[in-house]
Every structure is written in C-alpha cells, then in structure tokens.
C-alpha cells in the first residue's frame, strides 16, 4: 500500500463525521466526507478512495441504490454502516456487492478491524498466496491440505470448498446465497439447510479452538475471522 489509504465516509449525520473523521485520521487514513448519495458517487469516481464506509439512510438516494451504482464502476471495498438492523437489508446489501456490514451503534475498534480486513482484500489478488494462515488454521491451496495446529483434517470435497471460500474471504460476511451458489451451484441458492449441516460438520472437524473463528451471522450468512 503506497501512502495513506483514502477512506470515503458517506453519511448524512454530521455527528458521525464529527467523530469518524478525526479518529480515522488519527489512525493514519486520509478521509473524504460525503453527505449525500450524489456526493458519494461523485467523490468515489473523482478521488478513487481505497475504501468506502456507506450509510444506507441518505437524504437523496437510498444507500442500496448508491451501492449498486458504485459497483457498476468500482471494485473498491465497501463497508456498509447503517442503523437498519433487519436481516433482509443486510443480505440485500451484501448481495449487491458490499464487503461487510456494520450495524449502528458500533464499537469503533470493531469497525477499524473490519476496515483493515476489507482493505486487505482490496489489495490481495486472489491466488497470490497458496497458503492461508488464520490462527491455528492453515490451508494449503496447492495441495488441498487443511491443517489445524499442524494436524491434517479429512474433509469431503464440499466441506473443503466451503472452508476455502470462507478462509479466502476471511473477515468478510459471506451470505447464504453467495456460499450456496459458489459451492452447490445456482440451483441450490435457497437450500440454507445444506449449509447448516455442512457448517456443523466443519465445526466438528475444526475442533473447539479453530471453530471459534467460524462465526454465524444470524439470518445473513457466515464469516471467517481473520485471526483470534
């Protein structure tokens, strides 16, 4: 990463900018501020931020629409920060291309962790590192080997695919639809039951320590924590 990462904060609440701006700057980021959806789109195009924090309740455009329009021209990581706490809103945002979703009011430390994770993703090109290390877990993508604290696990092909998909996207929420479509195919995008069963198997095989990294986002999907 060359220089300071530039973060675009989109929110219509001045109070949010009031504390997020100084804190992000103090943590070493450059901050751009947008109060409306139109501003957000303009700044995202002209200033090419490295990450966007996006509120859904904007006065001019709904955040979901802003999200869709952003995704039409940029792959920049987008973390949605919103007071909307309904699962279907979260799923819609994630499926529309948001990388993560943080519910207001949030813990500033957690927000920063999510921001860091999302930034890592924006930079790391997939397949760059054939070995993923996440706490006690080690996934060797070239040899299709999964190790927990050095011991190899026996996984079925589906379990392996599911685990690598989550591990590759460590820190991000993967929605049920995303996981089902990637592992089982588009025909099964509604069979959440499959997912529950396989995640259950995975947790059992990973053991207590490693399975703590595999977090359920109720009603939305799963997330693999980047580290303990």
């Amino acid at each position: 990463m060359s220089g300071r990462a530039r973060i675009l904060v989109v929110d219509d609440e001045p109070q949010i900018h009031r504390f997020l701006g100084p804190t992000l700057q103090a943590a070493g980021y450059a901050v751009e501020r947008a109060d409306t959806g139109a501003d957000a789109l303009r700044l995202a195009a002209s200033r090419s931020p490295d990450l966007i924090l996006l509120d859904l309740g904007l006065p001019d455009l709904d955040g979901q629409i802003v999200l869709a329009r952003l995704r039409a021209f940029t792959r920049v990581p987008i973390v949605v920060v919103s007071a909307r706490d309904r699962a279907d809103e979260k799923i819609a945002a994630l499926d529309a291309g948001a990388d993560d979703y943080v519910e207001k009011p949030f813990d500033i430390g957690e927000l920063f962790a999510r921001v860091r994770a999302a930034l890592r993703h924006g930079v790391a090109s997939p397949g760059a590192d054939p070995v993923l290390r996440l706490g006690p877990l080690e996934v060797d993508l070239t040899h299709r080997l999964v190790l927990v604290e050095g011991g190899a696990l026996t996984l079925s092909p589906r379990e392996y695919e599911l685990l690598t998909l989550l591990a590759r996207n460590a820190g991000r929420v993967m929605t049920h639809t995303q996981l089902l479509t990637a592992v089982w195919g588009p025909a099964h995008h509604e069979d959440v039951q499959y997912l529950r069963v396989y995640i259950g198997h995975l947790r059992q095989k990973l053991g207590t320590e490693a399975s703590r990294l595999l977090v359920t986002e109720p009603g939305v999907g799963y997330r693999f924590l980047p580290g303990p």
Binding site: D12, F19, P22, T23, A26, G57, D62, P105
Partner: protein, 928 residues
Amino acid sequence: MIASMVAAEHPRPDPDALLVTAAREGKGRLKLFLGAAPGVGKTWDMLNAARRRRAEGVDVLVGVVEAHGRKETEAQIGDLPLLPRQKVRYRGHALDEFDLDAALARRPGLLLVDELAHTNAPGGRHHKRWEDVAELLEAGIDVWATVNIQHLESLNDAIARITGVRVTETMPDRVLEMADEIEFVDIPPAELRARLRSGRIYRPDLARRALEGFFREGNLAALREIALREVAQKVDHDVRDYMRRKAIVGPWPAGDRVLAVIGGDASADSIVRAARRLAEALRAPWIVLHVERPGGVEDTRHALEMAAQLGATVEIRAGTDLVRATRELAAARNVTHLVIGRETPRLWRRLLGLTLTRRLLRQDGGLAIHIVPAAGARTRRAPTPRAPNGWLPWVAATLLVGLIVLAGEVLAGTLEHEALGMLFLAVVVAAATLWGLAIALYAAALGFLSWNILFIPPLYSLTIEEPRDVIALFVFAGIAVTSGWLASRVRLEARVAQGRIENLRRITGFGRRLGEPTTETELLLAVVRLAADIGGRAVVLLMLGEDLSVAADSGGAAMGGDDAAAASGGGTLRGDGAAAGGGTLGDGVAARRASLAADNRHDGLDEGAWAAALWAWTHREQTGHGTGTLPSSAWRFIPMATARGLVALLGLRPDPDAPLDLPRTQALSALADQSAMALDRMRLAAAAARGEAQAETQKLRAALLSSLSHDLRTPLTGIRGAAGSLRMSWNDLSPAARDDLLASIEHDTVRMTGFIANITDMIRLESGEIEPRRRRLPVAGVVESAIARLPDIGLVTTTSVPEDLPDVLADPDLFEQVLVNVLENAVKYSPENAFIRVSAEALAGFVRISIADEGVGILPADLPHVFDSFYRAQRGDRTIPGTGLGLAIARGLVEAMGGRIAAESPRPDAPRDGAPGTVMHIDVPVAS
C-alpha cells in the same frame, strides 16, 4: 444421497393405500356378521360376542336387534343395555325405528345394529339403515352389524335367479368395503333346515312354506357358496391392501380392462353388476359406456350412478352407431373384456345379422365378449312431460268429426262416399299432429263409425255391402293408427329435443347472467332468479358467515327460529334486499339469504327443511326433496361448492305438481356450480383488495418502526463512536479534536434526552396524565413568544392577529408548546428564505390560529396520518431528522385543552406552479 439410495432399493408404500388408512383414522370401526341365509345365527353370535366384550369393560349398547320372537336370541341380549326405539307414525301405523340421534348423543363404545339392509320408515334422515351406520362410523362410534348375503346389490340378480325370490331391500357393495372386519356366520344347510323344522326360526306354519321355498337345500347351498366367495374376496382384498400399504411387491395382474355397454333397458343394472364382478375377479379397471342415440331418451341414470358408485369410469358418448362407438372406446382404452346385454332385436335386424352381438363378434377378434342374460323388461323411457290432458282436445276432435259429417251431408249428392273417407282421414292425421296418439285413435274411431253408419251403404247400419268398402275401411283404420302413432312420436321427440335445447340454452345463459353483477348482492339476486326460472315455487340461498359446524351443534330447532324471514309475496323479490335480510343461525353464526317466492304463500323453511339444509352443508351433497337423504322434505338443497370449499346452499321448493326431472336437476347443478364459482371469484377479488390494503398498513408499520429505530440509534452511534474514538486514539488526537468529540457526546446526549422527553410526553398525554391549567389568555402574546423560540435559520415569519380577537381559555405553557411544535414542523419542511405566515381569526366559540408554510406540502394519502405518533411524510429513515412526535404531541395538547387541530395541503392560496405548502389550523376555545 443416502435417502435416495434407500428409496431406490425399497419400493415405497402405495400412497393411495396409505391415504385410505389415514381416512379411516378417527372413524369408528365396523364389524359385519355376515350370513348366507336368515336363521344361521348372526344376531345370536353378535350378541354373544358383545356380552363378552361387555364383560371386558367395553361400553356396549344395543342399538337395534330384531329377535323375531326367537327365544334363544332374546336370551342372548341378557343384561346388555338397550337404546330406546324411536316411535315413528307412518300411514296410521306406529313403527319402532332405530333412533340414530339418540345413539349419536349417547356415544357408546360399541353399538350393535341388526339387519343392516333394513329400509327406514319415511321421514327419517336416511333412506337405509346402513346409511345411519355410515354416519355413526363417521362420528367415530364402533359398530357391529348383521347382514345377509342376498341383500348385496351386485348379487341381487344372481340370487333372484337361483332362489326365484327377488330381495327388495338391497344395499350397495361398498358397505362390505366399509367393514374393517367380517365374521362369516355359517352352519351347514342341512342343519339350518333342521333348525327351521324345529320352529326355532319361524312359526311352524311359516316354516313349512319356507322349507319348500327359499330354504330349499339347493338354494341354501348356492347362497352359502356365494357368501363364502364374497368373504374370500374380501379377505383377498385385505391381503392386497396390506401388501400395498406395507409396500410388499406381489405378483400383479396383467393389464385386463373391462368395458360394459348399457342401454336404457332394465338389464342395464344387471350388466353393470356383471361387469363389476368380472372386473373384481380380474382385478382390472372397468368402464361403463352408454351411447346416447338421437331420438331415444333412455333412462340410464340409475345404472350409471350405480356404476360410478361401484368404482367404474363412466363414459357417455353421443352417436348413431353403437358398434363403432364401442369399438373406438375399446381400442382407445385397451379393453380386453366386453360385457353386453342380450338383446331382443327386431325380427328384420335379426334376419339381416344386424344385431349388436353379431356385429361385435364379426369385428372384434381380440375381445372376450360376455353376454348378460336379459332381465326381461322393456326399454325404460325417461318420463317425458305429457301434453295438458284437458277435455279440450276431445271436444275439438269431436267437433272436427262433426264438421266433416255436416260437410258430408251437404255434399252427399255430389261426392262419392270414398272421397268423404279421405276427409275423415285428414281429421285423424290433424288430431294426431295436434294432440297425440290417444286423441288420434279417438278421432279415428269416431270418424270410422260416422263414415260407416252415415255414408257407406246400407246407410244407418254398421253392415257393409260392397267388398271394396271393406278394404277401404281396413286401409282407413291402418292409416289412421299409423299416422297417429308417427305424428305423436315426432311430436314427442320434438318436445324432448326442445327441452334439451332449452336446458342447454339455459345452462349457457348462466355464465352471461352470472357475469353481469358487480356486487355480491346483485349476484345472489341473479342466482335466485335463475333458480326460480328453472322451476321452484320458492328459492332460498343460505350462506353461512363463518362455518356451520357451530350451528350444527345447536341443532335444527334453533335454526328453525327465523324462518319467517323468508316470507314474501307476489312473485317479486322482497324489498329489503335479498342478501341483506336474515337473522342468526344457531349460535351467532350469521346467515344471509336471498329469497324469492313464486307464490303468495308463506315459504318459510320448516324444521325438516333446516335439517336437510344442515345435512347438505355438512355432507356437501344434494339433500331433501327427490334425493336419498331426507326425501320427505319439501325443499331440495344443492351445495354450491368450488375446489376451495363450500360457498353457499341453494335451496329450492319445487312445485309439487312438477317434480324436478333430470334436465332440470342438471340445470340446477350447473347453476350451483357456476354461481359458486362466480361467488368465489367475487370474494377472492374482494379478499385480494383487502390483502393489498393490509400489506400497505404492514409496510407503513415497518417503515415507522425502522424510523423509530433510526432515531434512537443515530445519537447512540454518535455517543458510542465518540467515546470509543477517545479511548482508542486519545494520544493521536489533538486536544481540539478531543474537545470536539466530548462536545459531540454532550450534543447527542441532549438530542437523546429530547427524544426521550418527547416519548414520555406522548405517553403521558395518551394516558391522560397531563392536566392543563387553563386560564384567560390573549393570543398575540403567546404567538410572539412561540415565534421567538424558533431558531434563526433564514425564514421569514409574518403574523397577523386582529386587534379585536377574543381571548382564549388555555394553559399558557402548553399552548405555546403546541405553537412551537407546529412551527418547528413548518420550518423543517420549508426551503430557505421561505415565508411562514401565522394568522388568527375568530370562529364560533373558537379562535383559529393558522400557520401556513411554502414547504413541500403533504400528499393526500399522508394527510390523515400526520398527527399520528412516529409518522413522517416520506417514509423510511432517510427523511428529515426529527422524532415524528412533534405534531402528535401538538394534537394531544390541543385536545387536552378542548381544542382541535387540522392540516390542509396544498394551502388554498398556493401558486399554481410553486411549492404546494401546508396550512395547520389550531382551534382553541374562546374564554367566555
């Protein structure tokens, strides 16, 4: 994956078989004691077994037992409790009948019912006792019953042929299938005869006759064989059912298929029964075909109904060529066995080899053909309406003949008497065409006598001189009879065809007439009118608001209470609206009805009619007049049902002189079906509209909730975020930034407090806790201080308060709060540099303060809600910040002070192309 493998290896149980099992669950179990002949000891056996059951603690009740004076049987009853018989009066006789309702009410653990095939006294709910039992089983009561084999419908013909005695009390074969268990009560024929001889079955004199008649040894042996075969078949059935249920794969029969062809003669029933037995034996599906030929109206209703009941697929084809229709169907359905009746064809057909049997035999090599012996009866014609048999045609025919006689007397000199004969013939043909065969024959006889006596020499005697006159007379008689017969036949067929066309036209008309109404009431009226057209002295539509099951419990007496509602007169619809009338049916279940009376008489539903209606409702079958259930009722009730359920009941009281015939019944059924669909459609549309409105409300509520959640979360986010930032980055933040974050926390805390204060105010207002301290106030001062509290944000406010405005009676603090809230709202929705105008005027008893703005205005849809809690125009959380409580609190306060508040948008003086704006009117009571 594992599941699918298992499924592939093991066949699954047949769903049909499981369904039957499921359907039986919750129902009573039926055990039949089946005998081959009277006197074998069925009743004795049943009672004996029942006493053992009672000893085991089962609640046994004797529903009905006919001991026929047999002492052994009577002794077996012993201490079994007896259900009191119902006394029914019929044609002066007092009959003891089984009391179904008492049995249903008593709910015994096991009920004993003798002689299942017994026919109930007229006036009972069911025609047959087995139907009573079916109802008991349905109600979950276990029943044991006795029956003799000769009562089975499909064996009726065979047994009549063997024994020479036709049993009139029959019951359908499916009664056997209803049974969960069958116990065959058997003794050898010789022993039975010995029993009979010893007088243990009948009185000695009767017994002697019986021994020579029904109880001949050969008869008994044959009956016993039939019964044994029937029981064996049932056992076979049970095994097969078991195998299907448990998914045991067995040797399945090859693809046989039976086709029975029936006509309108009496052998139709026999053919159906024979086909059924054959199909049973082959375990094959079977089809019953009737070909409707032009000209003949054959009554096959009974046979076809029976076939459908016995499980056949019924096919009705139209066409002239019976053989071709049969062959086509046989080929299409892979029929292997054909069952036909023995015909009694005309001589010429027989001579030409044109009988059905011969032609089928010639053409179909691949079919096994079974010929059922004829039952010896002639073709049964459907009863056709006869011409009005008044005295008029007879008189007219007599007059016509008299006219010819007169003409003959006048022309006698110039005309040969043979030519006069032609004139008489003309009268006969005319009579035949106009009035039918009977009148034609009468005219022929009269004409013949007149001609012979008055004109053929020797005159004034019946004797004839010339041989050629004898021949002429014969020809006369022949032509008269033939032409009369032909003409009357043509007339009859024309009338039947006319009736069919009329019926067809009527049925096709339903769709149009039922499609026109736009409201339910209109539709119901249309249905009632159509039903009355088909033929009913009175028509009633019963619609149950919720479900009739509630009313069914309360019984017929309660339902009979409001029958006066249907009274009417003069062939017109009642004035108070057909569907709006009514009363209550049973326990609060509202019945709406449309009613039309075709005569002046009181057409209320009596108790019997209500019972029939209830039955039709609960069992979803046609009930009452002319049906198998409650036939003594004057009313016929036809359920109006769709796939989604019962919609209403169509009740009809036919004219006693013109009972419902087949075409009219068909038309009624069609009407019931079509109107049920129309009604259902109308209700679905209404429900859809209601659902839409409900969804709208739901959406609104969700939006309100998310808005409230947003309002609470936003300051919390600020507080938590700022606090977290301070803790996390204390050292990296400049002192100025730290100060600002602390100030931000304070700011959000104030916001939060304000919000919570608003909420508590609202709750206080709603619970009536705020008590205004009202006193006399000048309006101008309050308005000024309220405007002074507004933030200075570039809005222009103008006020115009007349000098002579009366003072108001209000709480100064609360009144000011109201004005502030309304003003703040106006500010919120106004653009910069817009005007806000405050004006005041005196109304009757009130002072009105109007606050007008140039803001975005309020949509008509939002207007009724603007004073609701948490409601904000432009829903969702991305609107103008605020609590959504300001106006709600304003209204609460104004109302607490005895005033009122209203919104108007766009404001009356808004420019046509500018912002619509809003005016809020606050009315406060004047101080007296």
